[in-house]
């Protein structure tokens, strides 16, 4: 599945009511805490600028009164042509305007750097936390759902920070300032404004409520249709093979028609608010002009012509922020729902690591013949004994499982009382049907999951006591589902050991039998491959993942042999590569090949999470049990 489809499947609007509740307020506080953390100065400056710019816009409306009442009318009455007073008033206003534009510019610039900065911090923190989560988290959460926190949710947060929140703030300020100015001009006319605003509220509540309702329904239908499209297009070839085109078409037409109806309604109610608000504003304008005109004619109301002109302009400035606020608050609430999901990911409990034993390089201290023979380096576990003294245990690759029980979900045990041991350099093969527990055992050795009962010892040290990074560094993994990352082939192999030289990478590729096909690629080791699409065949990707493991050169390996869909020749290359990689190491292999099991020191046959048979190939054949059945079942056909 490629990203960027979005398509509204995870759109917060689709998920029920829009309401500001306690939870939202708590999230909002946290968002502000993030702003305060490094952006406080800029925020204060931005807020100050908003105040200035709102004041200037009110002053601009009031200036009309000054212009008319204090300059034009007196000049007309006096019949003089002295314009110096007018000139200086306009000059002063000009200076105010410059201040207004400058503060508006400053505040916009501040908001840009605050919103993007906060978002970058949150994004980085989110990814950092995600990298530290236990594997269980990834196994139980859908990729698309996690992706949408980086896309939809983060984007909604950015919009909230850069637009909605400053808008709400400046709208509130404007309402207060404008209201004060209007009251100072004419309390009676302000009542007219209130009457119209009340109607606007009523209309917004009626239509806006309906619109939100239709909108969330539409999002749901859109999500369903997009899901349907995704599934059908992914299976398009199968549709053709079964000549189902017309059935699928009819089905699509139904869903599409439904979407049309919902979109039509949602849009109609969404858009209609705009002309209604605009024209209600016009009606208000007219009403004020009429009533204001009447008032202005009667000197007892002390409303001048200039006052009326200012009031007319102010009333326009009043209705806009009022209708703005209700819209912006909606989007703030929706963005907060996304922010909550983002924070939940950040707060997720990281992978626990209480281990203290570390992997250290030694210079010949202790016995390190086992690994020195292979890589020339000499490694040991540095552990602290009960009496506090430090002790070095040579890294040998001796692994024991003792009475291990495990379940992914509490009521569904996967492993029952598993005992096994692998001495340094031994090869242990797991054989059994899918779901028998082969992969689970390997998941426990490298502590992707932790045992619930029993224990696992690595060179005599319980694995929980070893720091996870050191434990995993000592274990190599080649999985059936090969994952590569976007980058060059060189970078992908070097992933096994970041400080490996180019020569070492090439050496590893040769060992893995990957060198041949790499050099035949147009750009050789510098060929850029992408992690998600496949320019390389499955077999070639497998070869690269073997090379990646070879460059890491770990003493213990966990291998999952590839099975289907690889042709015999590539498969032989892979086998050779794997066999060379296995040499001199302790290896746990999920076996599919006869040659692998034949030269394994121990074969463990798993069924329903129990080891039902163990021994080498000849023993097991002699036992005439499950292994024999599997083995001869293949042979008899």
């Amino acid at each position: 599945m490629s990203m960027g489809r979005g398509g509204g499947r995870h759109n917060p609007a689709a998920q029920g009511r829009i309401r500001m509740d306690k939870e939202s307020l708590r999230t909002l506080r946290r968002v502000f805490a993030h702003i305060g953390d490094g952006y406080l100065g800029r925020l204060v400056l931005a807020m100050g600028c908003i105040v200035v710019s709102a004041l200037v816009s009110v002053a601009s409306a009031l200036f009309l009164r000054v212009l008319i009442d204090e300059h034009i009318v007196p000049i007309l009455l006096a019949g003089s042509r002295d314009l110096s007073g007018l000139a200086s008033a306009i000059g002063a206003m000009g200076l105010l305007y410059i201040g207004g534009v400058a503060s508006s510019f400053l505040y916009q610039q501040m908001m840009v750097s605050i919103s993007h900065g906060v978002l970058r911090d949150i994004r980085n923190r989110m990814f950092f936390s995600m990298q530290r989560l236990p594997l269980r988290y990834f196994d139980t959460h859908a990729t698309g759902e996690l992706m949408s926190r980086y896309t939809n949710d983060a984007d909604a947060m950015r919009q909230m920070l850069s637009q909605s929140i400053p808008h709400v703030f400046s709208s509130l300020l404007t309402i207060v300032f404008v209201l004060t100015a209007m009251l100072s001009l004419s309390a009676l006319l302000t009542l007219v404004v209130f009457a119209v605003v009340a109607v606007m509220f009523f209309v917004t509540a009626r239509i806006g409520g309906k619109s939100a309702n239709y909108f969330s329904k539409r999002q749901k239908v859109l999500g369903d249709l997009n899901g349907y499209v995704e599934e059908m297009i992914d299976g398009q070839k199968v549709i053709q093979v079964f000549s189902r085109e017309s059935a699928v078409r009819a089905d699509f037409e139904d869903r599409n028609e439904q979407l049309f109806e919902h979109t039509d309604l949602a849009n109609r109610y969404g858009i209609v608010l705009m002309p209604i608000m605009g024209n209600l504003g016009n009606i208000q304008y007219v009403l004020i002009a009429v009533f204001g005109g009447m008032l202005a004619m009667n000197p007892s109301f002390s409303l001048t012509l200039g006052g009326l002109a200012s009031f007319l302009t102010l009333s326009k400035n009043f209705t806009n922020p009022v209708s703005q606020i209700s819209q912006q608050i909606n989007s703030v609430v929706m963005a907060l729902a996304g922010a909550r999901r983002v924070f939940r990911l950040i707060d997720e409990e990281p992978e626990e690591d209480l281990g203290h034993a570390r992997l250290v390089k030694t210079d010949g201290q202790g016995d390190c013949r086992e690994n020195a023979a292979r890589s020339g380096a000499c490694w040991a576990w540095e552990t602290t004994g009960e009496n506090g003294e430090t002790r070095l245990v040579p890294l040998a690759g001796d692994i024991r499982l003792q009475g291990v029980n495990f379940a992914y979900e509490t009521d569904k045990p996967v492993l029952h009382d598993v005992d096994l041991f692998a001495k340094p350099g031994q090869k242990i093969a797991f054989v059994g049907a899918t779901g028998a527990g082969k992969t689970t055992i390997t998941n426990l050795i490298n502590r992707f999951y932790d045992v619930q009962q029993g224990r696992i010892l690595y060179d005599g040290i319980p694995v929980q006591d070893i720091r996870k990074p050191d434990l995993r560094r000592s274990l190599g993994m080649v999985l059936q589902d090969t994952t590569l990352f976007t980058g060059t082939i060189m970078e992908n192999i070097r992933y096994g050991r970041l400080e490996a030289t180019d020569e070492e990478v090439i050496e590893a590729a040769k060992l893995a039998n990957a060198h041949g096909f790499i050099t035949r690629l147009p750009d050789g080791y510098q060929t850029v491959i992408s992690g998600t699409e496949s320019e390389l065949s499955q077999g070639q990707r497998q070869l690269l993942s073997i090379a990646r493991c070879a460059v890491a050169d770990p003493p213990v390996m966990i291998l999952d042999e590839a099975t289907s869909s690889i042709d015999t020749r590539t498969e032989r290359l892979i086998q050779e590569g794997m066999d060379r990689l296995m040499e001199g190491r302790t290896v746990f292999v999920i076996a599919h090949r006869l040659s692998t099991v034949q030269n394994a020191q121990a074969i463990l046959v798993l069924e329903g999470g129990r080891i039902i048979e163990r021994g080498d190939h000849d023993d097991l054949i002699a036992q005439r049990g499950k292994y024999y059945q599997l083995y001869t079942g293949m042979r008899s056909v």
């Binding site: 000049i75 093979v241 209600l280 059994g432 995993r472 994952t483 042709d567």
Partner: protein, 579 residues
């Protein structure tokens, strides 16, 4: 490009045209309001003529109500037009995709088709709505307000000649500077998503190589770059509001000064001054709206061109108008077949293939990756067309048959197969919509799927999730096989269709097929020799050519490739115990 898109408007043409018309009417009325207002003030308020105020007042309210009516009508028309346009666009896309052949689908990958049908259509729909509303509103507003302003006082309106180019130029500069940076923003966004996606998929690799910090560094590099580009682009965009304010304020000051002078000189009235200020706002706002429309349209241009690409794609395979509706038998003939996926005869992936298969024969096909096994069999149900030569089924060229008839008689189980959301029974009935329950059981029995279906609590009514992810690989393959068997085809093709099924079960499937479908021609592609060794004939393919044909024993004696594969599989061979 535009013409192609507009073709999808169809029955919503009326609404599409009405929407800008209503919008224009609304604007026209809106623009008359300040003019009448000036009259109300000058001849009513200033001279104390109550009667005039009331008459003008009623007229103004009536105008506003009319404008409201047109506004509501425009909203309805544009909602309907844009929703309808999007509906037709999706429909056209989906219909065309349904006619696509395999080579069309290969060229435009599934994931890109999905993006076009979902996100891209939504974007174009929004741009369309914006265009028929704002695209009409802002120029009309600009034009009418300009005319009014010049009618009131053409000398004063000259102010706009200075300010409008300043604002327009500023907005254009902002768009021009920020647009290329936004393109980089979008690209960086894609990279960021890619890193997240790869990490989510490859978390086992990241953790087992202890590369968390490395990945965090990679991510923050991109995240910081995104921050830089975004801030840079948005800094330009953030100039829009101040620019707008500066222009408005400049107009206000100029009009105040000049207007006051004119009033004093008796060339203008106070009411007119007030209406000039309103027109200033309308003119400048319309410019800003116009720039927003332009940005929106240029952003959606990429989406539009991706959509048009799908609409323009011509299906490469279509059935003849009055195709043959009866397939005589299951015999197959390849006559000098040459095939290339690109249709280019100079670089074929299958050369001069000649082959005759009798009805009811069982044929095994073996060969390395890229040897042409899949290509060979996909020509039979016309999933691809031969580049040269001909493929005959039941004695007739496949191109003469009605496509549905041909594909109903030739069942192929693809290598990359999939199930769909729904129950097991619904999935199986893809093979035959009218199949009875006992027929379903028959097919599931042949495919050895009955044993696990019966163990499920809901049996044939068990739910299958999208892509069949809630059943194991082997189970999925057996369901796909049963689905194909329900067609009761004359020819059955299995393209590596039982690779995840364990060897013992696979043998039972082969035995059941032999017993229950003796008249059906069977072609079996396999990696394992054990899957095909008892076929009537085995074809060895190598590099797009038939390297050898014969029974297992004959090939073992005469064919080097076959012998090599056989030896590698029996000596160091497969120990596959997946089930």
């Amino acid at each position: 490009m535009l013409k192609k898109l507009i073709a999808s408007v169809r029955e919503y043409k009326k609404d599409t045209l009405l929407s800008p018309f209503f919008v224009t009417m609304e604007v026209l009325l809106e623009v008359t309001v300040p003019m009448i207002m000036a009259d109300l003030i000058d001849r009513g308020v200033e001279v104390g003529n109550m009667d005039h105020i009331v008459r003008r007042g009623i007229l103004l309210v009536a105008l506003a109500l009319c404008s409201l009516l047109f506004g509501v009508l425009a909203a309805r028309a544009s909602a309907r037009a844009s929703a309808g346009f999007a509906k037709n666009l999706r429909l056209d896309l989906f219909h065309n995709i349904q006619n696509f052949s395999f080579s069309n689908l290969d060229r435009l990958s599934a994931s890109s088709l999905i993006t076009r049908l979902t996100t891209d259509v939504t974007n174009v729909q929004q741009a369309f709505m914006m265009f028929i509303r704002m695209g009409a509103r802002s120029p009309a507003m600009f034009l009418f307000a300009m005319i009014m302003a010049f009618r009131i006082n053409s000398r004063l309106a000259l102010v706009y000649i200075g300010v409008v180019p300043f604002l327009a130029g500023g907005l254009a500069w902002i768009m021009f500077r920020s647009y290329p940076i936004f393109e980089r923003v979008f690209k960086t966004y894609d990279n960021l998503n890619l890193v997240v996606q790869e990490n989510l998929r490859g978390i086992r690799v990241v953790k087992s190589f202890v590369r968390e910090d490395h990945e965090v560094e990679k991510f923050s590099d991109i995240s910081n770059a995104l921050y830089r580009f975004f801030v840079k682009a948005d800094r330009y965009m953030a100039g829009t509001m101040p620019l707008m304010q500066a222009s408005t304020y400049a107009c206000m000051l100029l009009i105040s000064w000049l207007g006051a002078n004119m009033i004093i000189a008796g060339d203008m009235t106070t009411g007119q001054l007030m209406s000039m200020i309103t027109y200033t706002m309308q003119i400048l706002m319309s410019l800003m709206m116009l720039s927003m429309v332009l940005v929106m349209i240029s952003i959606s241009r990429a989406a539009a061109s991706r959509i048009v690409e799908v609409l323009d794609e011509v299906p490469t395979i279509t059935g003849p108008a009055d195709g043959v509706t009866e397939v005589a038998d299951g015999s197959i003939r390849f006559q000098n077949v040459l095939f290339s996926y690109t249709g280019d005869a100079s670089s074929p992936c299958m050369f001069d293939t000649d082959l005759s298969i009798a009805s009811g024969e069982t044929i095994g096909i073996i060969g390395g990756t890229g040897s042409g096994k899949t290509s060979l069999v996909q020509l039979i149900p016309r999933l691809y067309d031969v580049t040269k030569g001909a493929v005959l089924v039941g004695g007739r060229d496949v191109r003469e048959y009605d496509l549905t008839v041909l594909r109903d008689s030739v069942a192929i189980v693809l290598q990359r197969n999939t199930l769909f959301t729904g129950t097991i029974a619904e999935n199986l009935r893809w093979g035959n919509a009218d199949a009875s329950d006992s027929e379903l059981e028959w097919a599931a029995g042949l495919a050895q799927a009955d044993e696990f279906i019966d163990r499920l609590e809901l049996g044939y009514d068990s739910h299958i999730e999208q892509g069949g992810t809630n059943v194991s690989g082997g189970q999925r393959q057996r369901l796909c096989l049963a689905r194909a068997l329900l067609k009761r085809p004359k020819i059955l093709i299995l393209d590596d269709a039982t690779s995840a099924v364990d060897t013992a079960t696979e043998a039972e499937i082969r035995e059941a097929l032999r017993r229950e479908m003796p008249g059906t021609t069977k072609l079996i592609i396999a990696q394992r020799i054990s899957s095909i060794r008892d076929a009537d004939r085995i074809i060895v393919l190598d590099d797009g050519r038939i390297d050898g044909t014969g029974t297992h024993d004959e090939l073992l004696a005469t064919n080097a490739i076959y012998r090599e594969v056989f030896e590698s599989q029996t000596k160091g061979g497969d120990f596959d115990v997946n089930g």
